[in-house]
């Protein structure tokens, strides 16, 4: 072959070609006194046992506690529930338990 054919190789990306948006973390509160802490039960057995105890401890620290639960642990929390927690709470604790 005397002629040199130029070849172009196209590389296809198998991924979604997305990058996560970077956001600053919410500043850590110096005290929980007076803040509302959401406790999200993902609805696994005995998650409530753990969260009941966490609620006792948080209340003793002067925090207000709001309790939430996912309809089922097998699916992501519904958007409305996540929004509700975001607007009602200053912090959130999610419990996974068995």
């Amino acid at each position: 072959m005397s002629n040199h054919q130029s070849t172009r190789t196209t590389v296809l990306d198998p991924t979604a070609e997305q990058r996560p948006a970077k956001r600053e973390r919410t500043a850590r509160p110096e005290s929980l006194a007076g803040l509302t802490v959401g406790l999200l039960d993902i609805s696994k057995p005995r998650g409530d046992v753990f969260l009941d105890r966490v609620e006792e401890r948080l209340t003793a620290l002067g925090a207000k506690v709001a309790r939430y639960a996912k309809p089922t642990f097998t699916k992501p929390a519904p958007v409305d529930l996540r929004h509700e927690i975001a607007i009602q709470c200053d912090a959130v604790i999610e419990a996974l338990a068995d």
Binding site: P14, A16, T74
Partner: protein, 305 residues
């Protein structure tokens, strides 16, 4: 690869969990190439992706669970033979390009496009080797029964893929039963322990009956309906025997369910498929995961070009 389908490259196939990313035919094709698929497998891959990304299948939950489950794909209809799928010897194992790569392509779509990697949203404690990809064809021609897809509302001229959320297969050995009654009791004894002897109604399973086991039913003239009816009789549990604390075992049904009789599987919760090599008195059980709206339901979709 795109020549394997009539669909346009930019058509959106599904929103892929966990990141709910719009996935085009072209993106699926790229992953199918990486998996080692031939172009003629692409319609099966595309349909399987649609099936697992349905609300009923709940791929996000299947991915995120700590249990050892993933999509198990069963192909029915003319396409299985036309693309050279294996429904015979080593059907649940390796060695066939279509079986090996279709399931792999689907897993790569979840991982590469949806972002569902082990250690990220995939939280499986143990996982199983079938999560590399788990796809096989039913042996319809040699079966005396209607096929899985016929059982699920399709006819034999249609090609389908059924997505089932399952763990790895577990062998059932019975080399001595010569009557359908005996074999049914034997299969039931193993099915009773699927996932756990204390799990009832909440999880489905798939039973893969091999040709030599199926011969017991063919010879006796049992059809699928007769088989399932007889099997059901041996799959009932007295809840007192599997309640929390029974036999010194702290796991079990909640005390409030004492004094009942419950079936191992919900109605329709046992999927039965005929496949495997022609020699060997074995069948296989593929345990499932939580079923129904709070878990995963099997999904069957027609494969279109």
């Amino acid at each position: 690869m795109l020549e394997g389908t009539t669909r346009s490259a930019d058509e959106v196939v599904a929103l892929i969990p966990p990141n709910l990313v719009e996935c085009t035919v072209e993106k699926v094709a790229v992953n199918a190439v990486m998996a080692g698929c031939r172009p003629e497998y692409l319609p099966v891959v595309l349909t399987a992706v649609e099936a697992i990304c349905s609300d009923e299948f709940n791929m996000h939950g299947v991915l995120a669970t700590t249990m050892s489950v993933g999509p198990v794909l069963v192909v029915n209809g003319p396409i299985a033979a036309s693309i050279g799928m294996n429904s015979g010897i080593n059907v649940l194992g390796h060695g066939n390009r279509a079986n090996s790569t279709i399931g792999r392509a689907v897993q790569l779509v979840i991982r590469n496009i949806g972002g569902g990697a082990p250690g990220g949203i995939d939280r499986a404690t143990l996982g199983h080797v079938g999560k590399q990809g788990f796809c096989f064809a039913e042996d319809e021609d040699a079966s005396p029964w209607n096929s899985l897809s016929e059982e699920r509302g399709f006819d034999r001229t249609q090609s389908t893929v059924t997505a089932f959320c399952g763990e790895g297969p577990s062998l059932v050995i019975d080399q001595l039963s010569r009557s359908p009654e005996s074999l049914t009791r034997s299969l039931a004894a193993s099915l009773r322990t699927t996932i756990s002897p204390r799990v009832v109604t909440g999880m489905d399973a798939m039973l893969v009956i091999s040709p030599e086991h199926m011969a017991r039913y063919r010879d006796a003239g049992w059809d699928r309906t007769r088989f399932l009816a007889e099997l059901d009789e041996h799959l009932m549990f007295d809840t007192d025997e599997i309640i929390v604390g029974a036999d010194g075992i702290e796991d079990g049904l909640p005390p409030g369910l004492a004094g009942h009789r419950l079936p191992k599987f919900r109605p329709g919760g046992l999927l039965v498929v005929h496949a495997g090599g022609s020699a060997g008195l074995f069948s296989a059980i593929i345990g499932g995961w939580l079923n129904g709206p709070a878990g995963s339901d099997p999904v069957t979709r027609e494969i279109t070009p």
